[in-house]
């Protein structure tokens, strides 16, 4: 019977919230904004609204005779002077004039005269086209085959490793897991804060509505409090799941649409691929979507163990949320209206805020003493431990994780117990705003 009642309360708390327009809006807008920003960034760097038809004035005509563009970027090589070219540009539908001067091999530069500013991407493509053209012609000049030239090209990446003592496998350091950890940590901060405040609001609402006494004539105050906490927590998890899912769908969908439309496979050549690659790398770090453009993407994030990260996220979100929401439920029960909550909210959420602020320095130095302590103390551990776990914790330090988890469980059980005591008295108290001392006395009522 008791559990059935909690179930009914959870169901009501959950359904009334997920049915709200604001929840649906937040669930859609969150990922839309995230994916939108990312897609927009990619789009602005790739998208060219107009086809470019470029009049090429080649002072060395017919040196650039075989210059090739793409379907969107066509070159028309002409044996005219710059003045003639400019005159032609004025009367024709050419969008720009590319001037390649006589001494181009020495000056290594040309001029682009446009009617309407072309995108940086177009400028890059023109640069790349000319550069490749010049390279190929030089290869011919020095009698080097293209195959040999490709062999000569030696791409180089610097991978950094932390020394773990002789014989021990050195650990590769990588900024990416730390970024992922920071994002998860900030998400935890955001979710704990948002949803524990919702618990408090819900309690105050029941109190000011005066439905509280009707409710507790049917269920125990503790059942009502736990039902609310669990129901609101489930809303938080739903929102998180929706965000992740929608972000993946939107980001992958959006980016593929752009990439597929604008560039056919043959078009994605070396220079473009690099550009795309950079974009994709950034997105990978930011929104955690697994956009499978290139294999080496996965190499870059291979140190981020996503299943572990999600599991740790769920644990610390739930633990942190239970801890903070229980405290917030106690605050809600003790006051009559939102404005009275300020003096209590600040001291309670201060450690959470501190964890958020310090997360950036933990991000820079995840194995500092401060990071270790903050990741063990229950009020700050949910945010900080995310970053440490993302970066990777040595097996010798695993006790810190276990201690942190045990402390978190212990403290949320303690908080739930204490808040339950305060709550059952507070919800029936109206009128004068109680002091913290009075509230603590309620524990013994």
């Amino acid at each position: 019977m008791g559990t059935n009642k909690i179930g009914l309360i959870i169901r009501r708390e959950y359904l009334t919230r997920v049915r709200k327009k604001s929840f649906i809006l937040m669930s859609l807008l969150g990922p839309l904004i995230m994916a939108g920003v990312l897609t927009f960034a990619l789009w602005t760097s790739l998208e060219e609204s107009e086809d470019q038809k470029v009049l090429v004035v080649d002072d060395n005509y017919p040196f650039f005779e075989n210059l090739d563009g793409s379907s969107k970027l066509t070159y028309n090589i002409m044996d005219v002077s710059l003045t003639q070219g400019e005159a032609l540009l004025e009367v024709s539908d050419y969008t720009a004039l590319l001037y390649l001067p006589k001494n181009i091999l020495q000056s290594k530069s040309g001029q682009l005269i446009f009617k309407k500013q072309p995108s940086i991407k177009v400028q890059r493509q023109i640069e790349q086209n000319i550069q490749q053209y010049l390279e190929l012609s030089k290869l011919k000049e020095f009698n080097i085959s293209e195959v040999d030239y490709r062999r000569l090209k030696a791409p180089f990446d610097l991978l950094t490793f932390q020394f773990k003592g002789a014989g021990a496998e050195a650990e590769e350091t990588n900024i990416l897991p730390a970024i992922v950890g920071l994002v998860f940590g900030i998400l935890i901060y955001f979710f704990i804060f948002m949803y524990s405040v919702q618990v408090m609001r819900g309690v105050i609402e029941e109190k000011t509505n005066r439905i509280i006494e009707v409710m507790i004539s049917s269920v125990k105050p503790f059942q009502l409090m736990m039902g609310k906490i669990i129901g609101v927590g489930a809303v938080g998890l739903t929102q998180f799941a929706l965000w992740i899912l929608l972000t993946i769908v939107l980001a992958v969908g959006g980016q593929f649409a752009i990439l597929a439309n604008k560039y056919d496979a043959s078009q994605v050549k070396t220079p473009m691929t690099e550009l795309v690659q950079q974009q994709v790398d950034q997105e990978q770090a930011l929104n955690l979507t697994q956009l499978s453009q290139k294999d080496n993407l996965f190499n870059k994030i291979r140190r981020v163990n996503f299943p572990v990260m999600i599991a740790v996220f769920l644990f610390y979100f739930l633990g942190g949320y239970l801890l903070y929401s229980a405290l917030m439920a106690a605050v809600g029960s003790a006051v009559d209206n939102d404005t009275d909550t300020q003096q209590f909210i600040f001291p309670i959420t201060f450690p959470l805020l501190l964890a958020y602020i310090l997360s950036f320095s933990v991000f820079e130095n995840p194995s500092s003493d401060m990071a270790v302590w903050l990741s063990i103390i229950p009020l700050t551990s949910p945010v900080i431990m995310m970053i440490r776990v993302a970066v990777g914790i040595e097996s010798a330090d695993m006790w810190q994780v276990y201690l942190s988890m045990a402390l978190l469980i212990g403290s949320f059980l303690g908080a739930v117990w204490m808040s339950g005591k305060i709550y059952r008295v507070g919800i029936l108290m109206y009128g004068k705003k109680p002091t913290l001392r009075e509230i603590l006395k309620w524990i013994n009522y």
Partner: protein, 310 residues
């Protein structure tokens, strides 16, 4: 007498403040029972301890003779004085929810709510939001929700507040119907007229202490100031002479065919002595003891906190 709910020597503190001091109450089964007291007397706290919403610091609560361990929400119906609803929820959804948390399943709750929605003419409200209802409409809805699950014990804290006279009458009749159907009703109020009309037994508390308990008719008799109302035909002088020193005329006036008098009896004499002295001298039309109203008793007692019992 069979008591459905008893509270014995209940003590309750809020901090150092003693809200209830050795309060006892016994509610007979199948009656309408009045719990009376001025504002701040401790009525609500007493109800909360009786319903196990808060535990007493000392004292015992018996339900049908056995210690009450936990709130029997399926058998109790409680309409608190401070009552409200979830404003954003729809009426029907809310009624179902509040019945379900009392232990009814959804089908059962629906079947039990429907007749009440019909009786109270609320069918058209089902899909409205609570915030669209007037205060009086919300009170009606709350009453229906409180009684829908057929509780054996119904505790109503100021059930008529917020109602117009027409609705007050409707609710009063439903309360009487419930009593006839076997429901025990605890009725907490300041409205003494409705206590006289509805309750058989009462307990009056003030400042957290028992002041008075017993049946309404006996209490009124015991608070009688030995005033008698007499209608007679005959001479006023003869009437006054007949009274002698043991009785005193409080009020007297003549109508066209008879005289009305109110007589105060002095200590040690009563209706027997008064009747026997009068009957030889005047023609009596009617003779009755004038009992104080519950309102008079209430006002009389609240100034005097010492305990009395009948």
């Amino acid at each position: 007498m069979n008591y459905i709910l008893e509270g014995k020597n209940i003590n309750k503190y809020y901090g150092n403040f003693k809200v209830l001091n050795e309060v006892s109450i016994a509610i007979p089964e199948g009656q309408i029972f009045g719990l009376l007291g001025p504002n701040g007397a401790g009525k609500t706290t007493l109800i909360r301890t009786l319903t196990q919403i808060t535990a007493p610091d000392l004292g015992e609560i018996l339900y049908k003779g056995h210690p009450l361990k936990s709130f029997k929400s399926s058998e109790f119906g409680y309409l608190p004085e401070e009552r409200g609803l979830y404003r954003k929820m729809k009426v029907g959804e809310q009624a179902l929810y509040l019945c379900q948390i009392k232990g009814l399943d959804k089908k059962d709750a629906l079947a039990k709510l429907k007749p009440w929605f019909e009786k109270l003419e609320m069918e058209s409200w089902w899909n409205k939001k609570v915030e669209e209802l007037s205060k009086g409409m919300q009170q009606k809805l709350q009453f229906a929700i409180t009684v829908a699950h057929n509780p054996k014990l119904l505790i109503l804290d100021e059930p008529f507040s917020g109602f117009d006279p027409v609705n007050t009458e409707t609710i009063k009749n439903h309360i009487l119907d419930l009593k006839d159907a076997g429901t025990t009703i605890v009725f907490s109020t300041h409205n003494m007229a409705s206590v006289e009309e509805l309750c058989q037994n009462i307990t009056l508390i003030n400042r957290g202490e028992n002041i008075l308990s017993g049946s309404v008719s006996e209490i009124r008799k015991s608070f009688s100031k030995s005033l008698f109302q007499i209608q007679f035909k005959g001479s006023k002088v003869a009437f006054a002479n007949a009274l002698g020193f043991q009785f005193e005329i409080d009020e007297i006036f003549e109508t066209s065919d008879h005289t009305n008098a109110t007589v105060l009896a002095h200590q040690g004499v009563g209706s027997k002595e008064l009747l026997s002295s009068l009957i030889q001298h005047v023609e009596l039309i009617s003779f009755q003891e004038k009992l104080p109203s519950m309102n008079d008793i209430f006002i009389d007692l609240i100034g005097r906190p010492q305990s009395e019992s009948v």
